[in-house]
Symmetry: D3
Subunit: 102 residues, 6 copies
């Protein structure tokens, strides 16, 4: 999935705006999400698996949040003109993050 490729786009994340938009924030949470899913599969401990379900929920929320921030605050009409698929790409990425909770 493209999220895991550490290509730098640019950094930024508060509406001041502080001007710092770093895709690493979404990527780190996505890597964590994937690691939790793998640990869930590899374990047979009931409590551990329930903790995985709880934590996966939170990590997926954070992936979505960081993607939403990039989408809304970093990208400008000029980006959309050059990458017309930008809207759809982010839509699908956030939906996949939501589905990763299952």
């Amino acid at each position: 999935m493209w999220l895991f490729r550490p290509r730098r786009v640019a950094p930024a994340h508060c509406d001041l705006p502080c001007g710092v938009y770093d895709p690493a924030q979404a990527r780190i949470e996505a890597v964590s999400l994937k690691a939790i899913a793998q640990k869930y599969q590899a374990s047979s401990d009931e409590v551990f698996r329930q903790r995985c379900v709880c934590l996966k929920e939170k990590r997926a929320e954070l992936v979505k949040h960081h993607l939403w921030v990039l989408r809304t605050d970093y990208f400008k009409p000029v980006h959309l003109a050059r990458f017309p698929q930008l809207h759809d790409l982010f839509w699908r990425a956030t939906q996949e993050a939501g589905e990763a909770k299952n």
Copy 2:
């Protein structure tokens, strides 16, 4: 602004998904945001105005969050086919919410 028009779309808001998506959540925060902006303008009390700035920040975040959830989780490709401007509409709405912090 369209956010303030209480036209019901549909309800839903967690990734279970619980199936409850209600635009009232974004609308209530937007109405609150607008009320805070007006009270800021009408007041000359220093503490009150600083509280307005703090609270406006939070409300605008919530408007954005509720719009993001609707965008990602409620709308399906079939909606996009019928309303091709959907992506842009949500993009501009969340950007306006961010700008309302100023």
Copy 3:
């Protein structure tokens, strides 16, 4: 349960106060809570059911929070004079929300 009846009371929710108190906030979370409980009963998928338990916890907290805000900030002594059962009604409603977590 009275929570599900969409009778408008009035709107408001921050201590500025912004003057916006809308019972829809508590109602939407309560409707979500009920939907999650029903989906839990209807499913036999282990992960899905665990997610229901996690999410129900959060939704019930939000129902309680929104009811507390209405109780504390919206209602005035004049309301209490007209509806002497107001204190008890909110007490029981928040307790029911807490019990809905089970």
Copy 4:
């Protein structure tokens, strides 16, 4: 104000319920709130005073939250029978916490 008197009532704070209800949680936040208000009065530094306003907002929310939890989850009908003024006492205390934001 009664909040500052460290009379132990009983401890408890999650809906499990874990059975731990300790009024110290509300009291500590109230003491902090009061300290912030005093430091605001004593300072003439613009940034410091703005930080006071922000932090006071958060502390007051926490005072209210901890009081709400005690009210809803700890007290039982038997307490109400013995202390009929319980409802009103908590109502006024949470309202005062809200007003302390100003």
Copy 5:
């Protein structure tokens, strides 16, 4: 465990700093954490046990957070000079809180 011994150290918890640092905040969460773990062991109800796992996660986070705040904000070099084991003590305590999630 030392956390459960209610020896007063001193009070404080926001970076203003408000000057209020009370170890009761960490202790109350730790007592709650322990109570949840015991209730988990004593119960055979599936939903109840899953709620224990979720809530234990949150309480352990709060124990760690309150210990971190005490460590960073309350203790000064003078304390470290008198109690050279302070760094290690807090390190082990926060690690134990993390392990209590299992």
Copy 6:
């Protein structure tokens, strides 16, 4: 300040543990914190400056949180044996983050 040097240490951040500890999380918030401080200095707009104060508070909290997590969860006794100054380094870094709120 060392925080701004992007030397990779290792990645990880939930108590599962998921095994993902990335110092980028602390660094991104620290870079944002610094950018906000500079924008505050460069602006003479009252609302903008108040928003800077609010946002700086949040960013500094996040810097501290991410450093605490690294300190508690990533570093092991073996690291401490090799880098005896580790405790002090993190202590001073989190204190500096707290002071950056002013």
